[in-house]
């Protein structure tokens, strides 16, 4: 190492300048303004507007499509501006039903511009044997105040990533994110083309047909109805398969496939899409929790089917013991016990319910295991997609 002294300006000046450093800073700090320190800044306000966390909504109107399908028009309950969102995103409603505190994500059917005008539309379809959808359809009335988590989700059109044309495959209530996308294409917010293949059993099962027929007049939007049960003039008949996609997709350029629908459709259309040999980047699914029973999930340990266990829940220093079932996710057991467990997507993906498994055996289906590498390493689980296989202990924050 060099023994030479390092001099910057001069021997004397360097030391004199060093001696000034602390007094200079002291003086600067002491001479700061005595006016109150600003609480916020425009960009922080934009952040709050975009992601307000829990929001208070009120039902302003209800549109009845049928006994099993209704649209709920939500407005702000506390006068705050509604959070903006991107077509394809969802709202998570938080409800107290009996003793249970539950959450359910619903794609927003209205457009981003509608949110700016002051409303969201959630169109909800009755799920056979569903716990929440039935409650909503039978109980929600105009004027009810509802708590929700602000919009989120990644089932959105990204011009940098996606092809110019989206082939949307929709089934049942899976039409809602596409209605929002089509609306935002029509009003110029989103620069894309949409070919929408909308599957239903019969004409009567096509929700939003009137709105979609109207959108179909737009040059950038093509709506194709695909009926599985009835042969009707002017409609495609059958299921949405590779041939049908090819028939309507652009022939000479890349296209993105977006799929949202019931589980049976994922399974069928998923295989059909594979036949097309499209790069993964051009295929996007919206995963919502399927109503399927745990014992139908591949890999489920059948010897544990139908067993009930005890779950010890550690929360902020207190312990509660509740019942849980091997066939139901840990999140459902928490909700049934009235524990306000954090949850949003309910499909293993968003990680909002992340909790620490302190003891016991669990089953985590690999297709919905959305955990981070370190969470797996350090023993965390996503209760929405984890099933108890013994008595367990978890910590829920």
């Amino acid at each position: 190492m060099s023994k030479r002294k390092f001099i910057v300006k001069s021997n004397v000046l360097d030391i004199a300048n060093f001696a000034k450093m602390i007094p200079t800073r002291k003086a600067k700090l002491e001479n700061g303004s005595a006016a109150p320190v600003p609480k916020t800044y425009p960009i922080n306000e934009l952040a709050k507007l975009n992601h307000p966390g829990k929001i208070a909504l009120v039902i302003d109107d209800i549109i009845v499509h049928s006994d099993d399908v209704k649209s709920f028009i939500f407005k702000s309950a506390d006068g705050k501006k509604l959070a903006p969102f991107r077509a394809g995103q969802y709202l998570t409603l938080q409800l107290k039903i009996g003793n249970s505190i539950v959450t359910r994500p619903y794609s927003i059917a209205s457009t981003p511009n509608n949110a700016r005008e002051g409303f969201y539309n959630l169109t909800i379809k009755r799920v056979p044997d569903g716990f929440v959808s039935g409650y909503i359809l039978d109980n929600f009335k105009v004027g009810d105040e509802i708590t929700a988590y602000s919009p989120e989700g990644t089932f959105v059109y990204e011009p940098i990533r996606d092809a110019k044309t989206v082939v949307g495959i929709a089934g049942g209530s899976g039409i809602t994110p596409f209605l929002s996308l089509a609306g935002s294409i029509a009003d110029g917010t989103c620069e894309a083309n949409l070919v929408l293949l909308y599957g239903a059993r019969t004409v009567n099962d096509l929700v939003f047909k009137k709105e979609l027929d109207e959108l179909n007049k737009n040059d950038k939007i093509t709506v194709v109805y695909v009926l599985s049960d009835a042969k009707t003039r002017g409609y495609e008949k059958g299921f949405i398969d590779a041939e049908l996609i090819k028939k309507y997709a652009p022939a000479d350029e890349a296209y993105s496939i977006f799929l949202c629908g019931p589980k049976a459709m994922y399974e069928f259309a998923g295989k059909e899409i594979e036949k097309l040999g499209i790069r993964k980047k051009f295929v996007r699914f919206e995963l919502f929790s399927s109503a399927s029973k745990a014992n139908q999930i591949p890999g489920f340990p059948m010897e544990k089917e139908g067993l009930s266990f005890k779950m010890t829940v550690v929360r902020y220093g207190t312990e509660t013991v509740v019942d849980c079932l091997s066939n139901e996710s840990i999140l459902v057991a928490l909700e049934r016990a009235g524990i306000e467990a954090p949850a949003r997507c309910r499909s293993g993906e968003c990680g909002f319910c992340r909790s620490k498994l302190l003891g016991g055996e669990v089953f985590i289906p690999s297709n919905t295991d959305g955990r981070r590498i370190a969470d797996i390493k350090f023993g965390y689980i996503h209760p929405c997609s984890t099933y108890p296989m013994s008595d367990i202990t978890i910590r829920v924050d």
Partner: protein, 515 residues
Amino acid sequence: MAKWDVIVIGAGNGGLSSAVTFAKAGKKVLILEKHNVPGGYATSFKRGRFEFEASLHELSSYGCVPGAGNIRKIFEELGVHEKIDWCRIPDAYRMITLSDPDKIDVTMPFGVGEYIEKMEQYVPGSRKKMEEIFALCEKLTRTGDFFGNINGIDANMIQEVFEDHMDFVRVAPYSANEVLKAAGLPKRARDIFNAYWCYLGVDCDTINAIHYLGLVDRYINYGAVCAKGRSHELSCAFQERFEELGGTIYLNSFVDKIIMENGKAVGVHVKDRDEIEYADCIVCNSSPHNAVAKMIDPKDLPEMAVRHTNARKFAGRGFTMFLGLDKSPEELGIKEHCYMIYDTANTVQQVKSMATIEGNNSQATCCLNNAVPGCSPEGTTVLYFTTLYTEDCWSKVDEKDYVKTKEYVANKMIDNFEKATGCKIRDSIEEIEIATPATYARYADAPQGTIYGYNADKWDGIVQRLLMPASDDFIPNLYFAGGYCAQGLGFGSAYTNGYQTANRIMKKQQKEAQA
């Protein structure tokens, strides 16, 4: 008697390292964190088949052998080191300038000898000066450690300082460029040597020489590392160690108020559960700005706290684009881990152009696969691109234009990367996520979305801050730890600050107990 010895507000890097330091000393510690994961910016997120690193480019001062490098020493002492699967970063950086007439495109290695050798190839005749500078760096780092581990400077130390640390004293009042020029380093070598400036966000005519030379030394001398499980693994490892030591951490617990009694901080209010927790000492990992403006009742604030806080200036506001690509780095031709892409090697000019969204063409781009092999599925690549805004220009963006503005910057970053490296990435984008200053504002409640804490201005550089470690102690029993504090921004700095702050507080408490 308060229930806790220490409450730590926020489980960011500084919060976690201070909490573990306290817990290791037998203190009863509670961490309150508003998110459902620890770490603050030190985290990860998943999109499709990719898990993205949220913020860490590379952790410096982490050598290959036990005890090598400051940060490694701290991780070892605290018992966190062995919990982490470490990956070494292969090379220091590739620096490319886009608009300089005399374009720079250099790839620099780790290792002082290797670095000097490579510099000699790019700038013949620079060897001797580089050797002198690295020798100086080493001395400065040693002294920097000395200052970092003492409680400021007092009269008793003057003699020691002047005998053992004279080079430090001479260099300390000056900027990096003043010192590099005085050392006689040729301009082009200076330009290449200054590539790391973006890790501090302050141009090299302004950044304190000790700060900058110390940073280069910590990278080049010790190399750099990251964790296989992204920085989320670092955060989880800290949390696990903290709990092993008997610490308590509550997630989803947002502290909105600091409770004051008789002019002293005595507790905090947790908004989510409307509960108050009391402690003898409070360590705030959030910014002094948040504490002074929002968490403490104005009637309890000494005027000095307000003046000190208002005097500080925010450093760079963050913007990051995360890409998952459906081709391998080999197919894309991406060989390096870290690309520093600038308009110009003139750091003063570069900082100026980063004051606006339109003017900013600089980026530090990392290819995670070149540090963590197998970090994404076979045949794919993870890239992330970070830039800073040196002014609050994003505050002018209207809600309606927000998404379009994000896309505008993202497109520019992609174009500039392709232009600089010749690697075509645009057609391979399978996942994209964008974090803007609004994202950082939301995630860490960061004023203006700053990710770099307080600007290391000439008068507010880390030397002055380290020499005045108690200058933010404006409320009795309330301390700050993390990126807004003495050591400045960055992972290593925040970990170091948390560790040193905890030790400083305990020393002070001991003294008070004796008195």
